[in-house]
Symmetry: C2
Subunit: 235 residues, 2 copies
């Protein structure tokens, strides 16, 4: 990590369990960019909010990438920023049509899969939970078709790209959510290509993921607090 | 408009009242691109769905830009595609940091203003309606600060850019929604810069907007169908 004031310092404000934050970690690693990790505390909202108010007063969410003192927020926006600032090992394709497709699918995964899965942990009604899980599973079937049609190891081809990074909730996070809530979302018979993709993806990012047991404990506690009606921080 | 098979034909599938579709119209006009307009019928869902199933089977929504036979969907994705394909009169800034900021604010407007305003028309409970209108008004106050800090005529500077195009619901659409629902969202005392921006924007796009009286009739009918509990198409 280059020292303070060297002119190219990169800081990443994050929280260990956030799938959005991890996306940025991988993009930085793919580019070989040194950065300083600033862990915000989920349990200390006051302290967390002070940092976020300074760097991201509008949405007060992580990840926040601070480059040369200037904050960039929202994981997909940050990834495009990283890709346009450091040109080696591109994350997005170079062709405008393929770039548009990558952006479309990344948004699709965010809206139809990632947001739905995170919302699941806040639900207390079992019927509603199963309906939402079904929605996520259906969205995965659409993504499955896209991966199959693509005919390559990753959405990005031989290496991971924007859509792969956006889809990463399908790894440890989804496994933990399925286990905590006792719902079934990814099915190897319905989603064989994504099931294979998951193994390849985890290997590609060298298991740089939140520890599953810690995530399980955290999600279980979070979900139980919802059942008990405790008002807690947004995931 | 270049003829079919000429290799560079552009088609835009849209619906007259959609603020998302109009965004693409302006981007095409800014670039001076000839295109064929394909109006889908809101009242004939069967026919509409046939066109959409062909070009946008995943989300089945307009706008769809078909360039050289290949569809691009989602208004902000389409605008970036247009900007990367036709390089004259840029819609996004060239600097990576400013590009990231433009993307952030465009998403902010979509999530906190445009989606909330469209949702308002489906609400039947007056209290909930006023709460949501208040949320939109608060988001406008945040956008107002950004425009004021910018110190220029438009978010894009002297000409309109991505954030201006994304914010266009603040024009005729918001006026119509305020009138139909009898709610107040944009306030010249709280949002003086946006109030001025609205006049400048409408002039810049040469009043290329849905006719206000037609929009009023359409929104009124749509809202009344919701009050009557009629299941109708998504706006």
């Amino acid at each position: 990590m280059s020292g303070h004031g060297s002119g190219d310092e990169v800081e990443l404000l994050g929280i260990w369990f956030s799938p959005y934050v991890r996306r940025v970690v991988w993009a930085l690693k793919m580019k070989g960019i040194n950065y300083e990790w600033v862990e915000l505390s989920f349990r200390d909202p006051k302290n967390r909010n002070r940092s976020l108010l300074k760097h991201n007063p509008v949405t007060k969410r992580v990840p926040v990438l601070v480059h040369r003192g200037r904050p960039v927020v929202e994981s997909l926006v940050i990834i495009e920023y990283i890709d346009e600032t450091w040109r080696n090992n591109p994350v997005l394709p170079s062709n405008p049509y393929e770039r548009a497709m990558a952006r479309f699918w990344a948004n699709f995964v965010d809206q139809k899969i990632t947001e739905v899965l995170i919302k699941l942990l806040s639900l207390t009604d079992k019927t509603q939970m199963e309906e939402e899980a079904k929605q996520a599973s259906n969205a995965l079937a659409i993504l499955e078709r896209e991966l199959k049609a693509k005919g390559e190891r990753f959405f990005g081809g031989e290496t991971i790209g924007l859509v792969d990074i956006a889809s990463s909730i399908i790894t440890t996070w989804m496994e933990a959510i399925e286990e905590v809530l006792d719902v079934h979302i990814l099915d190897p018979r319905i989603h064989p290509f994504l099931t294979r993709w998951r193994i390849d993806f985890v290997e590609f990012v060298e298991h740089n993921l939140p520890p599953k047991d810690r995530l399980l404990r955290f999600y279980r506690r979070y979900h139980q607090s919802k059942i008990a009606g405790v008002v807690s921080s947004r995931l």
